[in-house]
């Protein structure tokens, strides 16, 4: 089962920014990059659970506001010397609508799909 939820329009998110989607049990951060790509990660840094939605978005990454870990938007993996991984969710654009799936994908699956 993989159902898609319409969570908003791309214009709801500032470029190089993020907005949150709450599900009752979890918060998902939906990011929009400078070139209008969207990505979704659980709003929780693998390091100390910092809210990634509040970080600075640059290239394909977000820098966590708590301790500056850099997390890949695509795979949820910590970059550089840090190790850890946050849940990543399939998200896609249909026109300007953002569709989010709540079935997490592993970094391996994301990489394999390329």
């Amino acid at each position: 089962m993989n159902s898609w939820f319409d969570v908003g329009s791309i214009s709801d998110i500032p470029r190089r920014g993020a907005r949150c989607v709450t599900t009752g049990t979890m918060t998902v951060a939906v990011f929009r990059t400078a070139d209008d790509k969207v990505f979704a990660l659980e709003d929780k840094c693998p390091h100390r659970k910092g809210p990634l939605s509040q970080g600075i978005v640059h290239d394909g990454c977000v820098t966590c506001p708590l301790h500056n870990w850099v997390i890949s938007l695509e795979t949820g993996r910590a970059q550089g010397a840090d190790e850890g991984e946050t849940l990543s969710f399939p998200v896609r654009l249909e026109g300007d609508r953002i569709l989010l799936s709540l079935m997490p994908q592993t970094a391996e699956a994301v990489i394999a799909a390329e």
Partner: protein, 815 residues
Amino acid sequence: MNREKLVIIGNGMAPGRMLEELFEKAPGLYDVTIFNAEPRVNYDRIMLSPVLSGEKAYDDIIIHGDDWYRDHGVTLHRGARVGAIDRVAKTVTAENGIVAPYDRLVIATGSLPFIIPVPGHQLPGVLAYRDLDDVEKMLDIARNKGKAIVIGAGLLGLEAAYGLKRQGMDVTVVHLMPTIMERQLDPAAAYLLEKALTERGIAIITKADTKAILGTDRVEGVELKDGRILDGEMVIMAVGIRPASALARDAGIAVNRGIVVDDGMMTSDPNIYALGECAEHRGTCYGLVAPLYESARILADRLCGGNGEYGGSVTNTKLKVTGINLFSAGDFAEGDDREEIVLRDATAGVYKRLVLKNDRIIGAVLYGDTTDGSWYFDLMKRSVPVTEMRDTLIFGQSYQGGTTLDPRAAVAALPAEAEICGCNGVCKGKIVDTIAARGLTTLDEVRAHTKASASCGSCTGLVEQLMSITLGDAFNPHAVKPMCGCTDLGHSDVRRLIVAKQLKTIPAVMQELEWKTSCGCAKCRPALNYYLVCDWPDDYADDYQSRFINERVHANIQKDGTYSVVPRMWGGMTSSSELRAIADVVDKFEIPAVKVTGGQRIDMLGIRKEDLPAVWADLGKAGFVSGQAYAKGLRTVKTCVGTDWCRFGTQDSTGLGIRIEKFMWGSWTPAKLKMGVSGCPRNCAEATCKDIGVICVDSGFEIHFAGAAGLDIKGTEVLGLVRTEDEALEYIVALTQMYREQGHYLERIYKWAKRIGLDEIRRQIMTDAEKRQGYFERFVLSQKVAQVDPWSERVSGKDKHEFMPMSELKLEAAE
């Protein structure tokens, strides 16, 4: 011979090319009839822009003249718009009454310009830019010169703007998005293009949303949603096109956005095909000529019994504005699995960016030098692995296969009279000789003694190579610590160049200073944002997405993702009503912790982000503004009670503290700035470990600075003694501005002072009245835009999106 009848609706470039292919493959196979809504033959629509600009005439752009139709036995009905297709009788009927039967029908109706339905859009003088009629109307209005407004800075809009400018009109382009041609260009290339167009006298307004077109009998101007009004006698709508599919839809043919076709260009009716901008293939409607020509070839093949399949196209774009070279193709978005090769040559105005994935080019943006556009495009289309030539790929095709040169060898081979620094006219011999004669070892010394690379800095690389050749291993060009991985320049160089080159946007800095990444990182973006806010208070628009979260939401993020809020208490003074208001807010929002801070104010901790605007609204009603406890800016001015109450007080330290805080709040500084004013040398306000402090004495005010009481502990240095409170304020403000202009981002004032030298600071602030006055005035100027309470702005709705979830999904329990 009874030939099959092929009827074509539309006489644009796509069916024209299709017929050429068809006549070549199978001449005489069909009896061909064309209906053209325009009263013309087939002409090159891509060349409309040169017609508009006057660089070409209509005759120059005709593709098929009358004799072509005659030679191929084609019946062309000009000015005949088809009104209906009867799929049962297999006929088409034109609005002028002509009926034609068909065996095979090709719909090639093209596209319609999208007209934004704002009030006034039907006024005479509002034009689209699609065909020769539009161009003729534009040229007619342009005869009287006057002003034109182009809505939409895409390919067509910019070409129209350029053409009208060439016709002597005053042209303004308004564009909804922050950068122009955002579909084809990344922000860096868009910046260069915008700059080039502006230099050609075309005004460009981005982030401009059209509210209405003004005028009674005809167009008089445009009103934007931000209230701005632009005058103009002509408005060109160039915001996009949509496939002209109504005719097909009325005939019951499957239509999505365009007329749906399969890989053989066939519609849902097997006798009917669609071609060109009206067709939708695999979900894509194409608007550029190359893919249309590709699909035209497939259709021609099908029409003579072949089974060619159209697999979709990769497209590329070129802008036809004389003197501007621009090429873009493919997908140039960033991604983890992608690599970029970027070449910037600021002086020559060249920007090249290749995006690679799995060792193949998937996107390219070229500005300034587009010679290799077609080569890259070819490598991209053919998906050629570029591993072998990767090192020299960005230099273009002519560099392939040759040996790679050591760049130092080229510099070493230059003659002594070769000019190295164009700005200051310094040649190689002078630099080499001066290095030897004076024993120079650093770039700064070479700049000081020869002036080479001391202006625009674009020859810095050459100068460094010369130093390296002359000094050998003694020279370390990387002695300057770069700002971050995105550049080799240090903070000082970046600040100097921002001012010297008048760089006023982040993309401008990144382009001109040859940034190695396309949009920076979490280290350089906040720094650049600060430098631009500081250096161009009037011109620069703060980039929120380049600010750390605390400065974006005006509160301090805590380890659990909640926030703390600190209202200003001027000079540490408060009152029962303020305390009561704080108590009420704490109760109402169930704030879990309240603490008195070291800066004499009250911190409320553990507030949920979504509650922040409501908390501020309540605090605002009690007269509180943000304490900016999160800012790289003025934090607190701590005071003692001074002569008001204290038996030892020598001056009104509380009053001075409040005055300083009210004068300086809201200002951004390289790092946080904490102050203190003590009423006597007993120093109860602990002013001698602050960034800037004042010790009041009988004879006046002793100004201190460069203290630290954090990671480092350091007593302040004395700046000097002034006699009056007015002077104290002026000197402190001037000192702050000097630090604002010279400090590196995140460099506290004591570190800056150590770098600059205490004596130099004393000289500029205490003894050089002109310098001091200049600093003071620049600070005052920047405060005009800085002193806006961020909390009340957000209570009134600014950045509303920051505080609310975008969506709250209510999930059914999975049972």
